[in-house]
Amino acid sequence: MGKSIIATTSLAGCFGCHMSLLDIDERILELAELVEFNKSPINDIKKFTKKCDIGLIEGGVCNSENIHVLKDFRENCKILVSVGECAIMGGLPALRNNIPLRECLAEAYLDGPSVENNEEQIIPNDEELPLMLNKVYPCHEVVKIDVKLPGCPPSADMIYEALVALVTGRDLEIPYEALKYD
């Protein structure tokens, strides 16, 4: 059996879930026996170079670029995994969901207490910038998600167990202490 191929990305997330993946410590050597990494911030591969078996998604969907990346992952990965609360339900970025977008941007760039040197009252609008969405969406509301791993971040134990279970095809058994939402 060849190695399974894994891709990872962080959308509207804080990279905490990626840090938690690295928290598997020396088990990363065992994981390296089972998998190889393709597109991922960990190895800095920017574009998919082949079809992947597993895609790990951190973070929810807050702008047009997130949608683009997420759809790209869906097309190139057999199994998509929502890793962490943000991917599952929007997480802390979704706190803005009940505040109009205009108000959020005004607070950040025009009226906020930390705003300085913006005499022209500009909200960044360069066409290179991805457009923000009206709300932060859970990943499964944009594409089909196959597996969800809760936690903020999910514990290293849970991520490791889930990856090994997915790669080897055995049932996912998570110990009580490893399943947490915080």
Binding site: S82, E85, I88, M89, G90, G91, L92, A94, L95, N97, N98, K135, P138, E141, V147, K148, L149, P150, C152, I174, Y176, E177, L179, K180, Y181, D182
Partner: protein
């Protein structure tokens, strides 16, 4: 002593005093039935529905149904567990439950039940309802985003004359828990703590102290809710 009657839970023969509710009778026989609204010593409400059991083939809330001679109760069957999981998931999507920064996380009964039933994520779409946080009270903060309207605070937290400090405000889907501004003026620290403890979720938070117990030592970090009764780590997947 009251008359002793016999009943069965998942085929196990149990004994109870006449007039006991199923939930309490099961507890006395070391059987855990989950609940979010019931509170020992107070009149049961049956509002959260998590304690659903099948009594002689019919769904009933265990907290409000008195046990009767010869009752055949189903508790930990696949069907009942699935119903309970659905109710818990509905409660999660119906409010705004951000566990990562909630002060009650680790001590929250709603979260603890989700852990016990190994819920990885709710199957229903998140509603993101627009709700307020009320911080006008000196000692307590009310976060309506997390309230599951179980009425525990209304029933349990009363002043020396027996008047409720908390009450329902508005009706239907707009109903929220309200703190009586006059009655709560002289609220003691102990009463504020009791109000926070009685809340099954993080809707009532005591001000000026938070995250005082480190992760790993909170109530449900190592052992699931109900573990002290039945010793079961987790049920169903």
């Amino acid at each position: 002593m009251n008359k002793v009657i016999n009943f069965k839970v998942d085929g196990v023969i149990c004994m109870a005093e006449k007039g006991q509710h199923i939930l309490d009778a099961a507890k006395a026989n070391k059987i855990f039935i989950p609940t979010l609204c019931n509170l020992p010593g107070f009149k049961p409400k049956g509002s959260c529905r998590v304690c659903n059991v099948k009594v002689n083939g019919k769904l009933m809330t265990a907290c409000t149904t008195p046990v009767a001679e010869g009752m055949d109760i189903q508790n930990n069957t696949d069907e009942i567990i699935e119903i309970r999981k659905m109710i818990i998931e509905l409660l999660f999507v119906e409010g705004n439950h951000y566990c990562p920064y909630c002060e009650k996380s680790g001590n929250c009964e709603l979260q603890a039940l989700a852990y016990k039933y190994k819920i990885m994520a709710p199957r229903f779409p998140y509603q993101f309802p627009d709700r307020d946080i009320e911080a006008s009270n000196d000692k307590l903060l009310k976060d309506h985003n997390r309230c599951i309207l179980c009425k525990r605070c209304i029933r349990a937290i009363k002043d020396e004359k027996g008047r409720s400090i908390f009450a329902f405000k508005r009706r239907g889907h707009k109903v929220v828990i309200n703190i009586d501004t006059k009655l709560s003026v002289n609220m003691s620290d102990e009463m504020a703590q009791e109000a926070m403890d009685v809340c099954p979720v993080g809707a009532i938070i005591k001000k000026e102290i938070g995250f005082s117990v480190p992760i790993g030592e909170r109530t449900y970090d190592k052992n699931p809710i109900g573990h002290e009764l039945d010793g079961i780590k987790s049920t169903g997947l």
